[in-house]
Symmetry: C2
Subunit: 336 residues, 2 copies
């Protein structure tokens, strides 16, 4: 697009800022935000690159929503309620007005849905691929933020929702789905890949009760390893208990090997957490009350940061290979 048309960009993004008065409608050097009393601030930043984290020809609204949701998911994992985001966009010159409109429209829909304001950012041109960076800020009651490192010996390990849908959705977008998988299942899995659902309400409920949490973005096995390592415990995963969607289950019936992909693929954005056994049923009830299924999939015991799985009663050490590769290319992503 022509880069002198800043008016167009302002027109697209400015309306998304109105929910945060301290954003000054994006007219100032920075936003000024008054913290709510007795809260800690939870802050996370993620970058997404076209061709690496999403397909360049994905619908623009989906790209915006995914960029937002992966960040909100990080806040949810800490138990925080999202407040606002800062977005920097490096846009290629060939983006047109229709693309930008669709992008900001999708972003606006999600900001509204999740009760979050666009509080600032930057728009620049790039000769390279579309590159987005979002910093999300949330609030959690002081001292209640959930960390990865809080898993205790004897804890239940549980996950929300179903695991592996997004990884299968990505496989499908790469045309690797079995031909006999039906259209509704395909649509479901693709949507799970494109529009992950940040578990915000879950995070807020867990903040007061769980010992540790993270969002499952690098693949379940890899992320359990993160929990085990930072908490310095071993985690025993009963792989038979991992919850899968009906669409995923039908894929496994056609191709049983896909189940490993579901366990190791990424982009689920469900929450994995640990809690005391005695607290699990109360958490289960609270999450059921907000419509979120939760499944106990294992337990923690004193150890050294390893993950074991068992299907048949015998535990097997999980050797995590080089880590999950996000999205559309075999390029890595890691927090610095």
């Amino acid at each position: 697009m022509p880069w002198d048309e800043f008016g167009l960009i302002s027109a697209c993004f400015r309306p998304l800022s109105v929910a945060e008065p301290g954003a000054f409608q994006l007219t100032d050097d920075a936003a000024i935000l008054a913290p709510a009393p007795h809260t800690d601030w939870v802050v996370t930043a993620d970058a997404l690159v076209a061709g690496v984290h999403f397909f360049p020809d994905d619908p623009p609204g989906s790209i915006a929503k995914k960029a937002l949701r992966v960040n909100l998911s990080d806040l949810a994992a800490m138990g925080a309620k999202p407040r606002c985001v800062f977005l920097t966009c490096a846009f290629p010159n060939d983006l047109d007005k229709a693309w930008l409109n669709a992008f900001s429209e999708g972003l606006g829909e999600d900001l509204q849905a999740f009760g979050v304001a666009l509080a600032g950012g930057d728009v620049v041109a790039t000769p390279g691929p579309l590159t987005l960076s979002i910093t999300a800020i949330g609030e959690v009651p002081a001292g209640q933020g959930l960390r990865r490192s809080g898993v205790r010996d004897g804890d239940v390990i549980a996950v929300t929702g179903t695991i592996g849908d997004a990884a299968l959705g990505l496989d499908m977008q790469r045309a690797a789905a079995p031909e006999s998988l039906d259209g509704a299942d395909r649509a479901y899995l693709l949507d799970r890949y494109r529009h992950p659902t940040p578990r915000i309400a879950v995070g807020e409920i867990l903040a007061a009760r769980a010992h540790a949490a993270l969002d499952v973005s690098d693949g379940l096995l890899g992320d359990l390893r993160h929990l085990a390592e930072t908490s310095k415990v071993d985690i025993l995963l009963d792989a038979r208990r991992v919850p899968f969607s009906q669409a995923a289950a039908r894929w496994f019936e056609i191709d049983p090997a896909a189940k490993e992909r579901a366990l190791t693929g990424g982009d689920d954005y469900e929450l994995a957490f640990s809690c005391a056994i005695d607290d699990f049923s109360a958490i289960f009830e609270s999450l059921a009350a907000v419509g979120v299924p939760v499944t106990a999939i294992g337990r923690a015991e004193a150890g050294e940061g390893r993950v074991y799985r068992y299907e048949t009663g015998r535990r097997q050490l999980v050797a995590v290979p080089g880590g999950h590769r996000h999205g559309a290319e075999a390029n890595g992503s890691a927090e610095p």
Copy 2:
């Protein structure tokens, strides 16, 4: 660089986070930050793209420092004391270990110099140019954050330091300097372009006393226009009073046309502010006490957002052309 070497990246960035305990040494999904009592948070985000905002073969440490400093300058403009930053990096695959080391070393030097911690971020690979996004968070006493929109009829308009050095430094890097300009002047101007100095101490002093401020990043004339427009006043600039460095002055002697470039070029990162006439001398003294020269360059009067300049007693309306183009290419940058 090989993207399985996340260990290397962690090793480079993790040490930069230690000043902020809530960064958890970059091992968690997000940082948890406890706001200081009676403060507002000031947050800004900027993106920089190689070939657009800096030259790809600039020294890696300079690239890191510039990315940091332009963000800290936005905080200074609001009167905030910087606390921490979140950095997302999209690194091309051909970056090597030496480059990354130099980048993180430069970043670390500046974080330490400005008392700021790296509190989180993301590292991803890109097939395109190096793209950096920094979100900076600062604190200001509650209610004292400075905005662009506070200029009042009758205010003095003033700037810190000298204007235009960075624009001339950029011209020079494009080989447009006069041949007779001497080596020390060249080095000075290039350093001013590469290593802008965020006026943090100035911002903190101004927070309690100025009416409005911004950092001069789009060129003095353009930025005065921003002040005038958001404050809904007219600004009268006495262009004879604009402070220039000796290096810039020597360039003007050789080529008088360069002075217009100095007034309209960007990347100064000095602060422009407005205050009551009665407060100016006290502010002048306070800034002199921290070693920062400040010059009154004009005044504001009731109006409609225009900027006038006068050299010879007759005021002339400043028609701001399409806006400043940052850095190394004719591509635009604007806050959304």
